[in-house]
């Protein structure tokens, strides 16, 4: 049942990313937390989601840019963690984050394929000639959305199987201290997140607020 729920979530997330809604269920932070809730690891799901989010925040879907599909990959990564039933150590987080990043690329390629398929569907609709073109355009549009959802279902299914099979043996043979895994993940996330600073710090006032935020965050680290 958990497998089915995760796969359905993959389809919903794929649909939300571009085709329908864009309510941000497809953001890695949200998709991973939902997957975690389904797989029985909600907090771990949110942590993996936040890490994948930090690594993806600098990607802006502007114009006709081709970008990774972060939502379905987040479902696959956290679904793998939950279904494999392994403890959420720093090493496990590193491996599922790396797996998620890999799937972002593969799933992104499927998005491009889907868009070429849409092109054929839509143009076939336009070239049909006289008749009820209005109805045909609506039908093709809905078909395109259903195909996108099917793509998400397929991608999530394909990603979950090797992930669940390979994660436990991979953890058994990964031989560096957990501190190295935690350090690598934190370093990568901090670097990419800091790279988004130019988006927000165009004005002097914003730079002042950034410094205030840094001070606030540093106080939180010390207090804890």
């Amino acid at each position: 049942m958990t497998w089915v729920a995760l796969i359905v979530l993959g389809g919903i997330v794929a649909l939300d990313a571009t085709s329908l809604g864009q309510l941000m269920l497809s953001r890695p932070f949200v998709a991973a937390t939902l997957a975690g809730a389904i797989a029985g690891v909600p907090l771990e799901g949110a942590l993996v989601g936040a890490l994948l989010e930090a690594l993806s925040l600098s990607i802006l879907p502007v114009g006709a840019a081709r970008y990774p599909d972060t939502g379905t990959a987040a479902v696959a990564a956290v679904g793998t963690l939950g279904l494999a039933g392994v403890p959420a150590t720093a090493t496990a987080l590193l491996l599922v984050v790396a797996y998620g990043v890999l799937w972002q690329r593969l799933a992104g390629a499927s998005v491009i394929g889907g868009r070429y398929l849409n092109e054929r569907l839509v143009l076939a609709g336009r070239e049909v000639g006289p008749g009820r073109l209005d109805r045909l355009i609506e039908l093709r549009h809905i078909e395109s959305m259903l195909l996108d959802m099917a793509r998400g279902v397929a991608i999530t299914s394909i990603a979950l199987v090797p992930g669940v099979l390979l994660l436990p043996p991979a953890l058994a043979v990964w031989d560096l201290p957990p501190l190295v895994a935690a350090l690598a993940v934190s370093t990568a996330a901090a670097a990419v997140l800091a790279g988004t600073a130019p988006l927000f710090t165009q004005s002097r006032r914003a730079r002042v607020f950034l410094v205030l935020g840094l001070a606030f965050g540093a106080v939180l680290v010390v207090v804890r």
């Binding site: 571009t18 085709s19 864009q22 309510l23 941000m24 953001r27 932070f29 949200v30 939902l34 942590l47 936040a50 890490l51 930090a54 802006l60 879907p61 502007v62 150590t89 590193l94 491996l95 790396a98 990043v101 868009r115 070429y116 092109e119 839509v122 609709g125 009820r132 073109l133 209005d134 355009i137 549009h141 959305m145 991979a170 990964w174 031989d175 560096l176 501190l179 190295v180 350090l183 993940v185 934190s186 370093t187 996330a189 901090a190 670097a191 997140l193 800091a194 988004t196 130019p198 927000f200 710090t201 914003a206 730079r207 950034l210 935020g213 606030f216 965050g217 540093a218 939180l220 680290v221």
Partner: protein, 248 residues
């Protein structure tokens, strides 16, 4: 001035959430625009030949930020209702689409969305509650998102072909300033927590904090191009862990 029934406006609003449903590299949002506008076209042109001609016109190339596409949808709905020349409507759409894309990318993709994401991540790291983190992001983000879509459709419909003047007097730049200033604070708050290992449930010893701190400074100067080296670092460490098992 002719009016559209409320149910028609609501249908266009709801369909605008699916404007990218058949996004493709040839017409971009073209057929999605026709899909969203269809209730207006049916109401204005009836069920005959004129409707089919209007559908053909509106399935052509179009692209805009999905949340602000409502401005074009509303304005075109008004122009169709007023019986404007189809050639003028086509030129109007072509003139509007570029600026709606740029504006939306700046205020939503590079402003509102990252600000709300950062809010969610900071809430997660401070409360350790997955639900609090995700809900704070989803609720705050979507209040702004849905309000923006509705505002866009209304301002487009009220302004018609003169919507550009309405847009110039809208307080979008002031909103954007407020949003990015908040985002700057949240980014500042998130960075030390992430660098300290808060997201790995494995707090880093103080002497190791220098590593992510230096990476953050490098990332700051590298901007968005920091992503690729960071992902390479992850890949190298992942592979190194397996090699360490093979090569004792």
């Amino acid at each position: 001035m002719r009016r559209l029934p409320k149910r028609v406006i609501w249908k266009v609003f709801l369909r605008s959430f699916a404007i990218q449903g058949s996004w493709n590299y040839r017409t971009l949002q073209g057929s999605g625009f026709a899909y969203a506008l269809m209730p207006v076209l049916r109401w204005v042109h009836g069920d005959g030949e004129r409707l089919q001609e209007a559908v053909v016109r509106h399935t052509g190339l179009f692209n805009a930020h999905p949340y602000l596409a409502g401005i074009a949808l509303g304005a075109v709905a008004r122009m169709e209702l007023d019986g404007e020349d189809p050639a003028l409507i086509d030129r109007f759409k072509a003139a509007l689409r570029g600026s709606l894309g740029t504006l939306g990318d700046r205020i939503v993709w590079a402003g509102w969305r990252p600000a709300c994401v950062l809010l969610g991540i900071v809430v997660l790291m401070t409360t350790h509650s997955a639900a609090a983190g995700v809900l704070s992001f989803l609720v705050v983000y979507n209040i702004g998102h849905v309000a923006l879509r509705w505002w866009a459709l209304r301002i487009g419909f009220d302004g018609g072909r003169m919507v550009g003047e309405r847009l110039r007097s809208a307080p979008l730049t002031r909103w954007h300033e407020l949003v990015v200033t908040t985002a700057a604070f949240l980014l500042g708050a998130a960075l030390p927590l992430i660098a300290a290992g808060e997201l790995t449930e494995n707090r880093l010893p103080l002497r190791w904090l220098a590593v992510p701190a230096v990476a953050a400074i490098i990332g700051w100067f590298a901007g968005t191009s920091a992503r690729v080296p960071a992902l390479i670092l992850l890949a190298v460490v992942t592979v190194a862990g397996f090699l360490a098992h093979v090569i004792p």
